[in-house]
């Protein structure tokens, strides 16, 4: 069954788009079935009700969602990108 990743940023359109695309490509390369759902930070609680395995965020998290959270700034800046991709894949492979 495909894992669900909530990809959030401040507006739900800009940085989360870049991150979601990169996550989909990395998961495809690793053979991990994944569904990404983009949203604004404040929309996370609503999406959590539908179930999710991981949150990747490029904006500041202001609450504990109860599922793993990975900071996704590396998808924009490239800094530490390999570590972030590995962290995401490790969580989704569990």
């Amino acid at each position: 069954m495909a894992k669900t990743v909530i990809v959030s940023c401040g507006t739900g359109i800009a940085t989360s788009t870049v991150a979601a695309k990169a996550i989909e490509e990395a998961c495809k390369a690793a053979g991990v079935a994944v569904i990404t759902k983009q949203c604004k930070g404040q929309e996370i609680p609503e999406l959590l009700k539908q179930g999710a395995d991981l949150i990747v965020t490029t904006s500041t998290m202001r609450f504990d969602p109860g599922i793993p959270v990975v900071k996704g700034l590396a998808f924009l800046t490239g800094i530490g990108i390999d570590d972030v991709v590995k962290e995401i894949l490790d969580i989704l492979k569990d």
Binding site: T11, T60, F75, L76
Partner: protein, 151 residues
């Protein structure tokens, strides 16, 4: 698709003498507004967004950048604006809003649809990930040098 296709040379402001992110957003947002790319309330929306959800990006090198942007409702047509500064301008880290990120470059994003701008955004990300390009942009003296750095 190339970042240059979205960057209007009149929305390039080089060597601004300010340390205030608000002044930068007003100056760059004003250009995008005067050029018709964004609505009148874009600037206030961008300022509010920057205060609540900052857009500073530590780039791990000599210079950092910020990428102010807002919801699509404030935008008429997709475009980019670019500004550089004589001194560091204080922005805050996008993913950790308590952390100061001193920036010498701002690329302002005006996006009109949620999905269709992926290539432009990836182009912006590619620029951010290239320290050589960042250095050329920060040190550009003319608009021509900016467009040349983005080639």
């Amino acid at each position: 698709m190339n970042i240059k296709e979205f960057l209007n040379e009149r929305a390039v402001l080089l060597g601004l003498e300010t340390t205030s992110s608000e002044e930068v957003i007003r100056a760059l947002g004003g250009k995008l507004r005067d050029l018709g790319y964004v609505k009148d309330n874009f600037i206030e929306a961008a300022l509010e967004r920057e205060a609540n959800m900052p857009t500073g990006l530590p780039l791990g090198g000599e210079y950092n950048a910020a990428i102010p942007h807002v919801d699509i409702e404030y935008v008429n047509q997709s475009a980019l604006g670019l500004a550089t500064f004589k001194e560091d301008v204080v922005f805050y880290n996008m993913v950790d809003s308590d952390e100061v990120v001193p920036c010498r470059l701002v690329i302002m994003l005006a996006l009109d649809t949620p999905k269709s701008q992926i290539e432009m955004l990836q182009s912006v990300a590619a620029v951010l990930q290239n320290p050589d390009t960042i250095r050329k942009l920060v040190n550009a003296k003319t608009t021509e040098e900016v467009f040349s750095a983005l080639s």
